[in-house]
Each structure stands twice: as structure tokens, then as C-alpha cells.
């Protein structure tokens, strides 16, 4: 679509009674039609299209059209908005001001009115229109007379006017070539039987569309329909250069951008000071010394420097000019040819695809180009080239891939990476490692998934890869960037409703980002099969430290306590990186615990206590000699202090009693002795009122098995060793 094209479009909208019928809770056809029309207009508006649009309503109580004034008939047809550029008012009108009526009008008449309007504007002096289009929006509920049919068809053919019909899906009665484009989300109410009048109308419309090669869309197919209508037109500007093979063979070529990410119109800044006072802000960048006054430095006193290790090396302009790479200028030079498979799809660099064709002004060059393209194609090679886009741009490495179609022969150009751009990371050999091998059954389930999620649809009658005639879903050519759709939605909403916040994302737009419903439905079984056959367990992210998250982690690790040194190494690594503590680790259990219980109480507190208790047991049991006793004791004392503070004496007392039992049955009596010597005992009711232990009992608790004095004396030596180990820890 070149920039100079300009289309005259007449939208004929049926507002008759049939359009306004819908079961409660569903959109009427009229509402849907208004949505579709406003989306079409919206795209015209936001793509800043030069096309002009005229809106004709038929079925209106009044009559306002030129034909009605000149001829008899053409009643109840209103030229609601004259031919003009799309503006916000027109969209607002469609969105808010169209009223259903209870009078039906003849759609043939409406199209005739439309053709008349088109005829008038396109033949007017100085008309810049290059094409014309009529969009008929109706569910064909009204009566029509066929006497004008031939005239209309002839007029459409003569004026080369395109005609589009938007209405309920047309039934396929033998006309296989009128497949609806792509089954999309059925947001429509359950299909209601068509009236005889509608069937009649449909038959007629199909005849006409066939006759004039028009297209039909159903209301449900808005998104693919829109892509048909408008994308932001970009002028086709050639990049001209000679394709050089060696010093002598030079073939003039034209390169066009084939694919490139479209960008939205850029945002401008405004400073609104009070009502109606708007200013344009201006950014100023300045450079300052790192001294107290932050002295500003003038442009002339600044030199650019590059880091070289810990130094920054200044490079003056002169040095830069003298020593920089000498740019080879604008060119497209072949370095050699290589087998197509040597250039991998995933190596394409850059953010655009160019297509090169022969320069149309040079027939000899075009013959040479054609010969080279075909030769490359037949030899199954691609050309490796270097390209300088302009005299001042850095040369890029790229490849030219022959691309031959019935209508044209071309070379596609992709940028390729330099050696420095490659990152040769090594990954685990998961396909070889027996641990990760799926069973035959599992593979079969994946096979089912692939079968059930085929997006190609049924093949169109043995056609080869003719792009247009198949039922492929999610074709890039039919998918609109949702960001633009969303932006337009917001822009329009803000323009029409100044003070409201942003609207919700349009449901149709949301749907277009979801799995196509047919695919979702057919894959259900295979998905369930996979769910049953593969064991997938979500590892709770240790990021927020909520009780729930921690609980998840505890459960996961509960079955397999590992050595304290490397237990949960990953979790603690992550913790260190993130600076948040989510559970009592093995490295600094005391500080972890203290941090965790700071704001915890009740069940949460007990959970953390359990974690610390587990650590204490681990430390004691796995201690070599008295190696970890000091650490375990610190934990135990911290547990006691916190339990006392939180008045959770019960938890602690139960644990200590339990620990005493365990220590006696294992060979870790030495730690019990340490507990006694340090006097860490049960929490008594004198300390905490909720305790059921008397202070006497708590004393007895230790004394019962107090170690002989001499054994206690042996302790200090070990303890100093502990300290040492602890410091190294």
C-alpha cells in the first residue's frame, strides 16, 4: 500500500428491526456492527489514513439522500456523515448515536445510494481518490427488490469498486470457495435459525459477491478482518545499490524493507500548569566534576574516554579520526556462497528483513539478477555478503537467500552475527542423560498433543503453498500487534472520555491472545494425559517469605534432611542474592530465626521454631565430637529466649523434653551435659505464666541426670575448639 493511495469508502449500515434482535444478555447484530465499524474507523484514524469515509444508514425513519430527492424511492436511507477523513466525531457518532429503528429498508437501494456517492466524489474535478469500496453491514433481514441488481453489479464492475459484506456467517451451500476466514472465538449467541427473508437475502448477496469478487466477513471475525483493512501504510522506498561479485560483475538492485517491527507514533511531552496553560518541557544534559561544588564543565573541556581494565583512556577526536576503522562506504558485496544449511535460521541478526529485486530501470541488470537468483536457488546456496547501508555506517555481515515466486524473483537479506556476537554457552546434555529420558508412553502423549493442536486446519483442496486459500490459524499476516490495538483503544477512550481512567483491555483483543478455542478444546484430552504421565512439581519461590511459601519449602525438604553444610544451598544462595530470609538456614540459624520470628506469632512462630529445632537436632547429631555443639547451644538459647518472649513456653518445653530423650538414647550425651552445665532448662511458670512447669520441676529437669563434676571440667578445651571452628564457619 503505497503512501499516495486514497480510497473512498462508503459504509452502509442496516439499522432495521432485524438488526436489533438478540436474546437477552447478548449483543444485537446492530451493536456488534457498530463495534466493528468503529474499530475499522479507529484503525483508519490511528494509521492517519488519507482514505475518506461516508456513513450511510438504511432503515432510518427519515430519508436524506440525493437519489431520493432526484428520483422516486430510496426511502428510509440517510447519508448520516458525508465523505470525509475519519475523525473522532465520526467514531463518537458510531459509538453513541446510532439508534435502531423499526423500519426496514432495501439493501439494494442502500448500495445504490453508496455507489452514487462514490461516483460523485471520484468523478469530481481534482479528485485524488485512487480506489473505492463499499462496506455493507447487515443481517439481510429486510425485504429487497431485485430489479436493480444488474445495474448495481455493472456499476460496481465499472467503477472497480470493492465490495465487502459484514454480516452473520454465510452458510456453505455448495459454494466451497466462500469459506469463512478462520474459525475464531464464537462470542456470538447460539445460532438462531435464519428467517426465510434472510436466507433469500443471503443467497442474493452471495451471488453478487461472486459476480463482483467481493469478500464476506462474519461479525465474529473482527481481528482478521481488521488486518485486511488497514495497517499503517509505509511508503515503499528503495535502497539502491550494486550487488558486486568480484570487481567487475555489478548488478544494480533495489532493496525494500520486507519485515520490520512497526513502532507506534512517538509520545510528546507536555507540562500542564494549571488550566489551559501548556508548555513544552526541554531537557538539558550537563556534565559536572565530582567536587563539592559539582562544577559544571563546558563542552570544549570534555573528552571521551573508554575503559581499559581499571583505567579510562581518553581518546581525542583526532586520534579517533586517525585510528578508527575506515568505513568501506555504501555497498553490497558478495564474499562467497555457502550451502543453505550453513546459515541457520536462529542466527538471523538485526531487526529487519530486506528483499532485493532487480533495478527495474536496467533490463540487462535484471537478466543478470534473474540468472544469479535462479542459479543460487538451483545450487541450493545462499550468498554471504557484507553490506554498508550508507557511506557512514558500519559494515554488516549478512546473507542473501533466493526467494522465487510466480510473480517475482528476489533475494531476501538477513544480517548475520560476527564472531563477537556469538555466545557459546554449554548446556547439559538432557537429550542423552538417562535421568531425563521420557518413556514411550510419555512420548506418545506428546505426540497426541501435537496432533490435537494442529494450527494448519484442513488442507485446501490440494492447493500448493498458495498463502491465501488455506485455513492456517494464527498467521502472522492476519495477526495485529495487540499493543497498537490497545493503544488505539486507550487513545480513543481518553479522547472521548477525558477524565476517566484507562479502560479494561478489549475482550476481543484478549481473546486474540488466547489459544484458539477449537485448539484448546481438542487438546484437552492430550493435556490431561500429559498431566497424568509426567511428574511436575512446582517449587515454591522463596521470594516473599510468607508463611505459606516457607511451609512449602519445609514440606519439600522435610523428607530428606541433608548434611547441614550444603543443605538447601540453592535456597541460601538465592537468599544471599536477594537479601531476604525465608527459612532457618544452616549457615546462620540463629540470626535467620531471629529475623523470621520478629513479626511472627501463633502458628507461624511455631513453624519457624520447628525449623530451628530441626537445625539443632541436625547440628548435634551430625557434629563430629563437639564440633557443632557451640552452635547448637546458641540455637537452643535463642529458641528459649524467643519462646519466652512470645509466651510460647509449651512448644519449647515439649521440644527440650524430647531432645533430652533423644540425646540419651544416642551417643550425644556430651551435648546434654553441656545443656546442664549451661543451665538451659524448661521454661517455668515463674518466667511465663502460661507454662505448666513449676520452677522446681524445671530445676529437677536438669538435676536428674546431672553429669559428674569432672566430666564438666573436660569441656572447656572442646569449647575453645568449637569457637575456632565457629569462626571459620
Amino acid at each position: 500500500m503505497a503512501g499516495k493511495d486514497k480510497e473512498a469508502i462508503v459504509i452502509c449500515l442496516d439499522v432495521g428491526p432485524m438488526m436489533n434482535q438478540a436474546p437477552p444478555g447478548f449483543c444485537s447484530d446492530l451493536e456488534t456492527a457498530c463495534d466493528v465499524i468503529s474499530m475499522i474507523l479507529q484503525r483508519k484514524l490511528f494509521s492517519e489514513s488519507k482514505d475518506e469515509v461516508c456513513l450511510v444508514l438504511f432503515g432510518t425513519p427519515d430519508t436524506a439522500n440525493k437519489l431520493a430527492t432526484n428520483h422516486d424511492g430510496y426511502f428510509n436511507i440517510t447519508e448520516a456523515k458525508p465523505m470525509g477523513l475519519v475523525d473522532l466525531d465520526l467514531i463518537q457518532f458510531v459509538k453513541t448515536e446510532i439508534q435502531p429503528s423499526n423500519i426496514s429498508a432495501d439493501f439494494f437501494d442502500a448500495v445504490t445510494v453508496a455507489m452514487d456517492i462514490i461516483h460523485t466524489v471520484t468523478t469530481a474535478a481534482g479528485s485524488k481518490f485512487t480506489s473505492s469500496r463499499v462496506i455493507l453491514c447487515s443481517n439481510l433481514g429486510g425485504e429487497f427488490s431485485q430489479d436493480k441488481e444488474d445495474n448495481i453489479v455493472q456499476a460496481i464492475k465499472d467503477g472497480k469498486t470493492e465490495i465487502n459484506f459484514i454480516g452473520p456467517p454465510l452458510d456453505d451451500d455448495g459454494h466451497t470457495d466462500e469459506d469463512q476466514p478462520g474459525p475464531s472465538t464464537p462470542r456470538k449467541p447460539p445460532k438462531k435459525p435464519k428467517t426465510p427473508q434472510q436466507n433469500l437475502g443471503e443467497k442474493k448477496i452471495k451471488e453478487i459477491l461472486k459476480e463482483v469478487e467481493g469478500d464476506a466477513f462474519s461479525f465474529g471475525d473482527v481481528i482478521p478482518l481488521l488486518s485486511f483493512f488497514e495497517t499503517k501504510p509505509v511508503r515503499q522506498t528503495p535502497w539502491k545499490c550494486n550487488l558486486e561479485i568480484g570487481n567487475n560483475l555489478k548488478v544494480p538492485v533495489c532493496g525494500y524493507i520486507r519485515v520490520k517491527e512497526a513502532s507506534a507514533k512517538s509520545w510528546k511531552s507536555v507540562y500542564e500548569k494549571g488550566a489551559n496553560k501548556e508548555y513544552t518541557p526541554k531537557g538539558v544534559t550537563s556534565f559536572h566534576l565530582n567536587d563539592e561544588e559539582e562544577t559544571e564543565v563546558e563542552e570544549d573541556d570534555i573528552v571521551e574516554g573508554y575503559r581499559y581494565g581499571s583505567d579510562i583512556i581518553p581518546i581525542s577526536k583526532v586520534d579517533k579520526d586517525n585510528m578508527a576503522y575506515k568505513l568501506p562506504g555504501k555497498m553490497l558485496q558478495v564474499l562467497g556462497f555457502t550451502k543453505t544449511e550453513n546459515v541457520k535460521r536462529q542466527q538471523y541478526m538485526g531487526r529487519s528483513v530486506f528483499v532485493f529485486v532487480a533495478d527495474p530501470n536496467d533490463d540487462h541488470g535484471a537478466v543478470a539478477f534473474s540468472a544469479i537468483v535462479n542459479a543460487m536457488y538451483e545450487a541450493n546456496v545462499v550468498a554471504i555478503v557484507r553490506r554498508g547501508a550508507t557511506a557512514r555506517s558500519q559494515p554488516k555481515l549478512g546473507c542473501l537467500v533466493p526467494h522465487i515466486k510466480a510473480k517475482y524473483e528476489s533475494l531476501l537479506f538477513f544480517e548475520l552475527p560476527f564472531a563477537e556476537d556469538l555466545r557459546t554457552y554449554t548446556f547439559a546434555s538432557i537429550t542423552q542423560n538417562p535421568k531425563f529420558q521420557p518413556s514411550d508412553e510419555q512420548l506418545k502423549a506428546v505426540d497426541h498433543l501435537i496432533d490435537s493442536m494442529d494450527l494448519m486446519g484442513e488442507k485446501g483442496e490440494g492447493e500448493e503453498d498458495d498463502d491465501e486459500e488455506d485455513n492456517e490459524l494464527l498467521k502472522p499476516k492476519e495477526m495485529l500487534n495487540p499493543v497498537f490495538q490497545r493503544l488505539y483503544q486507550c487513545l480513543l477512550h481518553r479522547a472521548l472520555n477525558q477524565n476517566e481512567s484507562l479502560p479494561e483491555i478489549d475482550p476481543q483483543l484478549r481473546d486474540s491472545l488466547e489459544r484458539p478455542q477449537a485448539v484448546a478444546a481438542s487438546s484437552c484430552e492430550a493435556v490431561d494425559e500429559i498431566k497424568n504421565l509426567f511428574k511436575l512439581e512446582v517449587v515454591k519461590k522463596a521470594d516473599k517469605g510468607t508463611a505459606e511459601d516457607v511451609f512449602g519449602v519445609v514440606n519439600q525438604n522435610g523428607d530428606a534432611p541433608a548434611a547441614p553444610a550444603d543443605d538447601n544451598a540453592d535456597v541460601s544462595m538465592a537468599d544471599m542474592a536477594q537479601g531476604t530470609i525465608t527459612e532457618v538456614g544452616s549457615v546462620n540459624p540463629v540470626s535467620d530465626f531471629q529475623a523470621l520470628v520478629k513479626n511472627a506469632d501463633g502458628p507461624t512462630f511455631q513453624k519457624f521454631c520447628k525449623q530451628l529445632q530441626k537445625r539443632i537436632e541436625q547440628l548435634v547429631l551430625e557434629s563430629f565430637g563437639s564440633q557443632f555443639f557451640k552452635k547448637a547451644m546458641d540455637c537452643l538459647q535463642s529458641l528459649r529466649t524467643e519462646s519466652l518472649q512470645k509466651k510460647e513456653s509449651e512448644t519449647f518445653n515439649v521440644f527440650l523434653t524430647d531432645l533430652k530423650q533423644k540425646l540419651k538414647t544416642t551417643h550425644k550425651t556430651a551435648f546434654w551435659n553441656k545443656i546442664c552445665s549451661d543451665g538451659v532448662t524448661l521454661i517455668s511458670n515463674t518466667e511465663c505464666t502460661s507454662s505448666t512447669v513449676s520452677s522446681e520441676d524445671s530445676k529437677k529437669f536438669l538435676e536428674e541426670d546431672a553429669p559428674p563434676q569432672d566430666e564438666e571440667m573436660a569441656e572447656p578445651e572442646g569449647e575453645s575448639a568449637d569457637n575456632l571452628l565457629d569462626m571459620m564457619d
Binding site: E261, S269, A368, P476
Partner: protein, 606 residues
Amino acid sequence: MSNWNFGDFGFADGAGDEDEDAEVGFSWKAAGRDSIIFLVDVTRPMFIKQETGESHFELCMKCAQSVLKNKIISSDRDLVGVIFFGTDKEKNSGNFKHIYTLQELDQPCAARILELESFTEDGTADFEQKYGHNSSFSLSDALWACSNMFSQSPHNLASKRVLLFTCNDNPHSNDPALQRQARTKAKDLHEVNIDIELLHLTTPGKEFNFSEFYQDIVFNTDEDEASVLPDASEKLEELMTRVRAKDNKKRTMGRIGFELGEGLQLGVAIYNLIGEQKKPYPTKLYKRTNEPLKRNRKTFCEDTGELLMQTDIKKYQVYGGRKIVFEQEEVADIKKFGDSGLKLMGFKPRTALKPYLHVRPAQFIFPDETSIQGSTTLFNALLKKCLARDVVAICRFIPRRNSPPRFVALLAQDEELDDQSIQISPPGFHVIFLPFADDIRKLQYPEAPRATPDQIDKAKTFIKKLNFPFSSENFENPVLQTHYRTLEALALDKDLPDAVVDHTEPPQIDKRVGGPIQEFMDMVFPQGYVPGAKPPPKRKAESKAGGAAKKPAKDGGNVDMEDMARQGKLAKLTVPVLKEFCQSKGLSTGGKKNDLVEEIKSFFGV
């Protein structure tokens, strides 16, 4: 080095039991820096000039320089230190005799390289006076000094290597006690993961006997090769090779869920296997002192002179003549479509992935066990089946929370190993970004003449001869390489930077296939053909030579100018055609197309 998006870096990759994988899977923060100490024997034998005209010691210094220079470009956060043993003087933290720390373990910088250079350039005459020689050192002390140097580094070290340079295969040959100490010390170092690599320097006619002593110092992890002397010359060569390329540490761009269906999700991590390596961005310096400057960006209101805060500024676009204004947060919100993740839409045959469907460089996904256990097996099954059935998975992809969605095709890749079992291509899916309809330009292609089979065959003759096995690895970016060399030359005070071999220069094509190319040109081009020039006026003679189908509309010679002028169709001709006609009739060729049309019209009196 930028340190963005390290937020959620956890642990290693999926297959945690692969050591290698676990190691490289860390972010650099967790992994720390690589460190190397050059431990150089400076006893007198090292200073004997060899046949090459250079002493072993000089070779060592060159080697160290080369490593420093490479490090500065590849990863300038890595640490390098240099220790001499066998000096007369001493300088080290442990006060060991005859051990001299030339350079502490630190980041490479120009001054250090220059210091090393002084040994090779200014000769070693004053070595005696500055450091002296003394062979009564203890190798054990030398190793200990290395160990101290590593442990005193304030940085987190990922790897610790000692490169030991010597030409003496049996130090302390008269002192078994010292030998024993050295062996014990080496073992200690090994236990704290310090690798010792021996770079033995041989003198012609004198074997270096590895088994004599050093096999107990160098711990070879590979048991079978324990007694085999590793080839030092190869290692030396490797160290001496100048490689100027940034070393990108393996790190993920994010970990996301990959939803195959309702309630069925696996974890994947995203990587970039290619990415444009740009020239480093310059820093602004104060000319007089070369100190770095702080950048300050302020926004003013030009009319009132007020200093504005970011929050004062709103954004707008103009459509249909109206200014539509948004808050800045709203502008960001418009792009938000929900949480990150890959969502499977369905499958298409690989052939549906047309070559021109490309909008940005691909990414790569690999299973991530840290988010969902069991992901690898399912991923593997998917990979195998996609490969076997030659299909691509079409997905919706939101790389980060609130970044706009795109559709992608997942292209399966099987693991590929070379003869030495080194991975050439990893197993996983390439994420190919697909364009939207908005991104695909609708182009009109002009009709063009086609070549004949003969001409095509002729073209094939030279195309086939110009075949080469392409690999990006063989093409360094000349702009980047020139920049590195320029920087190096300026930093190290060189008059001229090292020469760059520009691999993007077209090779000598004419030498190889000049003949066939000429034959081809004779076949398709008329004599005196100038590419891109206007079609020559005489056509009949050439059409035999060219054999091309001609397009009359574009062909000035075949067009009846007068007829066209009378029908008012001159504007349909191209400017070159019109110009040429004007030239042939001696009319003015100046001005725009309209002027030419008018000129011709008046010529025919239309």
C-alpha cells in the same frame, strides 16, 4: 558490565548434577571472578638467551602481557597477579625469602602491562640490581605465597589458578626435605581448589623430566594421564594468542513458565545465544585531568524557566486534530498485558515458518528445574517429538512481567557434538520471534525480465566455485577489533595499533573465477554496459546478445514518444527514459519530471 536483571538469579541450571553446567549457571555475582597468578622462576638459567634470541624469562613476561591484554577486553573484572621466585630480594606478605611479589592479585590495567613490557623491551640488564638472583629459595614458600595472595583477595574468587613457569625439572635436587615440603604444600593448595599448571620451558638438547619432581606438584585430575607430560608449548601458544573478544558469562535472561494447556506448566530459562556486541560506550572525561564527569539531566520549562520534575510531565499524541494526554504511568500501563510466560497455541509444520518471518534475533530456552521439578523430562519429550515430526510450536511470549506480548515459534534443536565430544549446539528450543501483520510491509514488485536456462547455468559455474563453508566464527567485527587495538595502542603508548585483518573484505574473487564471471557478463550484458546507467538507445543489436525479454513500456527506444505525448501518457514513463529522449532531441534535460513532460509535449506540439 551492566548488572541488570539479576534479580531472580538462583542456582544452576536444570540438570544440577552436571558439574560443568552447575558452575556456569551462576550469575557472576554468585560465581565471583577468575584469578590467575603467574609464578615465575627467575633463577639465572631462565635468563640465558635461547636460539630464538630471547630468554625463557622474556617469553614468560610476554605470555603474562598477552594474558593481561586479553583479560582487559574479555573480562576486566578478573584478577591477575605475578610472583617471582629465586630473587635475591624479597617482597611478599609472608616474608618468605627469595620470593618477590611483582604484582598483587588485581584487575588488569595499563600500568601493569607496561611494567611487564619493560622486562622485554628494556632488556633484563638491571634485573640483577632490582631483584637479584638467588637459587636458595623454597618452592614450598613460593606456593605458600600464592595461596596467601588468593586468600587475601577481598573478592569472591570463582577459580584460582597458578601458572608455574620454570626450566628446572628438579629444583632442590640436593634437599629432599625442601622437595617434600613443596609436595605437601602443593597438596594443600590442591585441597583448597587452587590449580597448579606447569609451563615448563625446554632448552634444546635437554629434556624436561616431568616425572623427576613436578608430577607430584601438578595434580592431574585425569588419573590416566597422570604421568604424561602435558605439552607446554601448546599451552604457551594458547596463552600467547591474542583474542580480543568480550567473554560473556552464561546467564539467563529470566525464568518463566511454559504453559502447554490448562493447568499444565513446565519451567524454562531464557538465554541469548547471539547478541550484538556493540562498541563500548564512552565515558565523558574532563580534558585537563582526565577525571570522569558526572552526567546530570534536568528538564526545564522553556517559557517559564521552571525546573520540572518527571512527575510534572505528561505525554500526548495528536490524532484527528486533538491532543490526547496521558500520565506517564498510564503510557507504561498501556503496554501491560499480564504476567510473563510462554503459552502454547499449537503446532505448525516447520515449513510454515517462512524465512522472512524475522523481526529480532532469536533467544533460546532450556528447562528450569528450579521452578518446576520434572520440567526437563517433559521438555525433552517435547523436543524429541518436535524434531521427529518436524514441527514448530507456536506460542505467545511475554518475556517479562508487563512487557508486551509477541508470538514466537519454538524451533527444536538437537544436541550436536564435535569429534572431541565438545558441544557445538546445545539441546533446546530457539525462540523465533514472529512479526505481526503491522510489521509485514505490503510490497509491489515490478515486473522484470527473466534469465534463460543458459544464463542460469553460466551463473552456476562461478557460484559453485565460490562455495565455502560459512561460519560466523571466522568473521570478526572489524569495527570492534579496530577499536580494541586503538584503545590498546593508546593505553600502552604505542605509536601504531596492531594491524586488523578485515575478514569482511571481499576475497580475491576475480583471481579465482574471473573467467567464468567474464563469460557470464558477456552473455547477459551488452558491450560497454554500465550497471545502473540508462538503457542505451540502440537495442536491436543487444537483444541478440542479451537474449532478454524486453519490457516495451520501460524501453525508451521502442516507445512511440509522440503517440504517448498525444495520449497524455508521458507521465507514465520513467525519468531516465524521458531524459534520454530529451537528450536525443537536444531538448533541455533540467528540472523535474513534470518539466520533462512539458518539454516533450511542446516538442510534439501537443
